[in-house]
């Protein structure tokens, strides 16, 4: 009888990595979004969020890094989710490759715009 631990050597592909990334980014998003929501809705209050508040918030480098992390994980998590939904309805390999490229460009473009805004900050 075989009693040794069994294992299988599976070649890691893009889909497996994307699957892992969805889980990892989701775990990271839980504290990131909770802290973000608590500060903005309970501590500061939505009525007090204006350009001045954002300028003050981003004057601190720590908060800028924090917001970039939310942008990085939340947006990529969302875009990959959208990619998965679109893949449910497409079976053609070429269409899927095009969709991958479109999603990448969409994610990159908006991430660059968002990151530029955060890094650039607000000039008075």
């Amino acid at each position: 009888m075989i009693t040794a631990k069994r294992s299988a050597n599976v070649k890691i592909n893009f889909e497996i990595n994307a699957w892992k990334y969805m889980r990892l980014s989701a775990i990271l998003l839980v504290p990131l979004v909770w802290i973000h929501s608590i500060i903005n809705t309970l501590v500061t209050g939505p009525e007090n969020i204006n350009l001045g508040y954002v300028a003050m918030h981003w004057a601190n480098m720590g908060w800028r890094i924090y917001d970039i992390l939310i942008l990085a994980f939340a947006f990529s998590h969302g875009v990959n989710g959208l990619r998965q939904v679109l893949f449910d309805f497409t079976t053609n390999t070429t269409t899927r490759s095009i969709l991958n490229l479109v999603m990448l460009v969409f994610w990159l473009a908006l991430s660059i715009v968002g990151a530029t805004a955060i890094i650039g900050g607000i000039k008075n």
Partner: protein, 235 residues
């Protein structure tokens, strides 16, 4: 008691699209939906077509949508679904006639899972069985209960979107062999499962688990496959 049964009808030789017909038959609350279908076929309309074989929940032939849920007609009692019943073919597969669907895409996906024992190692010294412990057998026991009725696969939203997705039943089959200590084909199967139409198309809707007439925890089995795919661990 009078039972009113509304049945989806489609004859490819006459109809351009499906329609519903309603029949009223005398039955008993302990009758099964399959019995009511037999009454309709025997006494109301002999052209009604549906699959059935063992009529005892073992062969998996008579899976259909009963009041919107995938069930086996032979395991569903009138008293559990009421005297007003709507019976439709399974979703996601092309209707061949009335309640009969074309199962080819379902079995094509099944075959992709290499549904047979793969072991090229020499036989044990006695030349007989490849033994395994009760615990090793228990590891994949639940998956062996699958009767390939397709109730799970055709309840899956991802499969409705595209029958290229292997579907829950095929994944349960993969589970049955991947976690069998006598099998050596796990890497091949996991490689198939890691493709775009594999386990990543499962979005854990749990419809499959709810639909399974054998009470297999299908979503959990698919979760175990995902973990095996990522970690390579098979115990």
């Amino acid at each position: 008691m009078e039972i009113t049964i509304k049945i989806f009808r489609y004859n490819p030789e006459k109809d351009t699209r499906g329609h519903y017909e309603t029949y009223k038959v005398e039955g008993h609350e302990n009758d099964r939906v399959l019995d009511v279908l037999e009454l309709v076929k025997g006494h109301e309309d002999g052209s009604l077509s549906f699959r059935r074989s063992c009529a005892h929940g073992v062969c998996g032939s008579d899976a259909m949508r009963i009041n919107g849920r995938n069930m086996l007609a032979c395991k569903t009692l009138i008293r559990d679904v009421g005297a007003n019943i709507t019976v439709e073919p399974l979703l996601g597969l092309k209707v061949a006639k009335d309640l009969i669907v074309d199962m080819d895409p379902f079995f094509d996906n099944y075959k992709k899972m290499l549904p047979y024992l793969i072991n090229d190692s020499p036989l044990p010294a006695d030349g007989k069985e490849r033994l395994q412990s009760p615990a090793q057998r228990a590891r994949f026991d639940e998956a062996t209960k699958c009767i390939m009725c397709a109730a799970c696969t055709t309840s899956c939203p991802s499969f409705w979107a595209s029958d290229e997705y292997y579907g829950p039943a095929a994944l349960v089959t993969a589970h049955r062999f991947i976690f069998d200590s006598r099998d050596e084909g796990a890497a091949q199967r996991l490689q198939v499962l890691s493709e775009t139409n594999g386990t990543v198309r499962c979005h854990t809707a749990y419809n499959c688990t709810e639909a399974c007439p054998r009470d297999i925890h299908i979503t959990q089995a698919i979760g175990e496959l995902k973990m095996a795919m990522v970690t390579g661990k098979l115990d």
